[in-house]
Symmetry: C2
Subunit: 495 residues, 2 copies
């Protein structure tokens, strides 16, 4: 389409497109992008150090290859963004990194080293209802080992999850990896006499509400049902009192140490075959975690964790961020689970028919990055601005800005025809640390004037009553051209 | 969907999905991903230093907001990946970063600093026929200034393009920024008497073939037409000989310096109003480029550059990578244009009705990264592998691998139940620099055995006939456990 002439533009005024964008895909500015980059780099460095290699499977998969294996039990039919390719086959944007991994492994089975250890860091897309801190595109960082069975591989994933949380800035005590297993849950179902698959589903959904509703709420959901504040009633599982007792004892079995929790679980589910297997695996996981330096304060056994049990086949875990962030108004932002993982032995088998055991961990960084950016404010320092005082001196101003950049200082020459006031306002808007001014006066004397906007801002806030300090770092001063770079570097703090 | 039981899996064998992926979205492995990351980081560091702030507008735009403004004149109707959102509005994946920028600027006009300087680095998607090194998803890195008119802003973009090429690894003489302008082309059309808009289009497409077909080919395309090797005939523009002469003199006007080229162009188009404007702008651009240290060998005026003139409204330029890469078989990979840019004053006006002058630069890094990875080979060093000799010593092996990681060494414990031979083969497949072996023997003596696979590989290649060197760095040796980290670091070269 040709660029419109002025006449055409006027004629087109009514049919101008509206400048708006689809919901759930917010425009993201520098502070959030920087926070996200930092998180991705730190977390993938952990994966890299543990021996995982990067793999990017691209955005699209065939819909039949992608399947519907969302790990989140609450939304088994969550939507994807799908469209028909030019050969009329349906393709869809990946909703996670695991489904494409399964396709990749099946497609390249003969060529890849086994075990196959890869990490992926990139966007995934979910065609769901967006909300605050709930995006339709977000970055996930995953590490997976395919072709490995046995709890040592799962223990490693739990340790990696702990180190990923540390890489994301969580200090000791600010995060917790909570571990459970499919076998333990199967064992307790058998022990409690919950045998019907439908009823098991209802019971698992009830147990999953422990964090939200506590013992009282879960008790109602396991029994007759629960009425919420709005008056809506959630149908209960209809269990008998003794069944409910068994289940509640189980989900509250978390104790001060992994060893102690495992001992309690051995009592409650150890008499079933699944349960005994689960308890034995926990013991192995505990031993490896301890060897890896992951203490009870970093990773706990917690039987109340219920995590996509239609997807996972062995140990499962959630990574919880306990640290509190605050927005600009001081409101607390809590995170809860920011990642999770576990053993999924069925995914590659979908393609190959043969089993290919696998275990992995995934952490979502977009929500975290958004909260960090809100919490920590715009940390991005703007460029030093070289003002344009005389239009016929552009080459000279360009040289000054270039000299600064050569020294590693972020710097730009003002582009435009506005006067000094507008240029200073622009420097302020850009969060510039300083401006450089060369008018006829400076040119004659062979100097530049530097306005230190940080000092100016500090002075304006009354933070610099100390006369000595003010004398040492005045808001505005002249210096020789040859000293400009050094003086600016002292202000802008270039790398 | 539940994980299938073994019986169900067998029953499902016929309806197993095929492990395949859509064309044009290749799986990308570690070496390519690392090359791409390095390119993106280096190029965006240039943008950052020039004062541009990061912006990510997200993958989707409404189709009407996106418009059809592909800068590539050859494919004005190139396809996008579009689908209907749940509110039935059509959305599409961005095909470049400029159309979303225009939407963003129009939507946030009152809130953004002006000039508005942002960079974007991320994937764009084109629903086109894929081919070798021609992907349907690729990374573009863009810098744009909106709200600026005048050639100083364009000169800055050209200088940024030169620095971006250097950041991408091009040495002096390995790249060239070739500059032309809409005004010069308008001027030469007027001078040659090519006034009909349709005919102008045909003529521009002919001029654009100068690189490919040379003077002879362009002469035919401007005249009666050209038959290619396959016998296909391209209709000519039907110009008279004197018109063709004027145009050929114009497109071959590039001389040894920008100043000299500008002088020649003043002669050929300076008598038209457009042409005179274009020549005056070149003079300003030359002065700024010189001030910025961009010499004639880095940026040239080249009137044969024709670049999406239905899109650009002023100076235009292409960034050409002259460096040759070679694939594994020694075949030369040439790049030609890897980026380009120019002034586009009409894009934001689409939304706002008022003019909003803008200029920008875009470089595609995916093709470049793929070629670098092919050319430079798999540079990714694998992890040090701690072999599992005794299944009941997993915690100990885990500790050894953990000790290495703590020291910054990439390391993993072998996961699986295979014997030593398979484990060694795995280390080889992973490109591991070394393996650590602790069997009963070592455990008794309190030592570890280290196998230096780099030395082993070098020895196998007969590169280490020097006995002294071999004694100093043997392929396999024992050391005390406490010395393991230091000995491994000497081999693996951890950061």
């Amino acid at each position: 389409m040709a660029i419109m002439s002025t006449d055409e533009q006027q004629g087109a005024a009514q049919r101008r497109p509206e400048a708006r964008k689809p919901r759930g895909f917010p425009d993201r500015t520098a502070a959030i992008i920087a926070a996200e980059r930092k998180l991705v780099d730190s977390i993938t460095a952990v994966y890299q150090r543990w021996g995982f290699d990067a793999l990017d499977t691209g955005p699209f998969e065939y819909v039949d290859a992608l399947g519907k294996f969302l790990p989140d039990a609450d939304r088994p039919n969550a939507g994807v963004f799908a469209l028909q390719d030019d050969d009329e086959q349906w393709i869809a944007l990946r909703y996670d990194h695991t489904a494409p991994l399964a396709r990749y492994v099946a497609e390249n089975w003969e060529r890849i080293p086994k075990p196959f250890r890869r990490y992926s860091a990139g966007p995934v897309w979910r065609n769901e209802k967006p909300g605050p801190f709930r995006f339709r595109e977000f970055i996930q960082c995953d590490a997976d080992s395919v072709g490995v069975s046995g709890p040592a591989a799962d223990a490693e994933m739990i340790a990696i999850a702990a180190q990923a949380m540390q890489a994301a800035g969580a200090q000791h005590g600010e995060y917790l990896i909570r571990v459970n297993s499919r076998q333990l849950l199967d064992g307790i179902m058998e022990t409690a006499g919950v045998l019907d698959p439908m009823q098991r589903g209802t019971v698992l959904r009830a147990l999953d509400k422990f964090d939200k509703f506590g013992v009282e709420g879960v008790m109602l959901l396991l029994g007759k049902g629960r009425k919420d504040e709005s008056g809506d009633v959630t149908q209960g599982a209809g269990l008998a009192a003794n069944q409910i007792d068994v289940l509640l004892e189980f989900i509250t079995a978390r104790s001060i140490s992994r060893a102690e929790t495992a001992r309690k679980l051995a009592n409650s589910v150890g008499m079933t075959r699944s349960g005994a297997t689960g308890v034995a695996e926990l013991a192995e996981i505990d031993a490896i975690l301890t060897a890896l330096g992951i203490g009870d304060d970093a990773a706990a056994f917690d039987p109340s964790i219920v995590r996509g049990l239609e997807y996972y086949t062995g140990p499962v875990f959630e990574a919880e961020y306990l640290r509190e962030f605050h927005d600009a108004d001081g409101n607390a932002l809590r995170f809860g689970s920011v990642g999770g993982g576990g053993r999924y032995d069925g995914l590659v088998a979908r393609f190959r028919g043969e089993p290919a055991p696998a275990t992995g961990f995934s952490v979502g960084v977009s929500r975290l990055a958004a909260a960090m950016a809100v919490s920590e404010g715009p940390a991005v320092e703007g460029p030093v601005l070289v003002l344009v005082m005389d239009k016929d001196q552009l080459a000279d101003y360009a040289t000054l800005a270039s000299d600064l950049r050569r020294a590693g200082v972020r710097a730009e020459m003002y582009l435009g025809s506005s006067g000094m006031k507008a240029q200073m306002k622009y420097a302020d808007r850009r969060n510039s640390p300083a401006v450089v001014i060369v008018g006829g006066n400076e040119r004659e004397k062979g100097v530049v004037t530097i306005k230190d906007l940080k000092a100016g801002a500090a002075a304006a806030k009354g933070m610099t009553d100390n006369e000595a300090w003010r004398a040492e770092r005045p808001g505005q001063f002249e210096c020789a051209r040859g000293e400009m770079v050094a003086r600016i570097k002292a202000i802008a703090g270039a790398p």
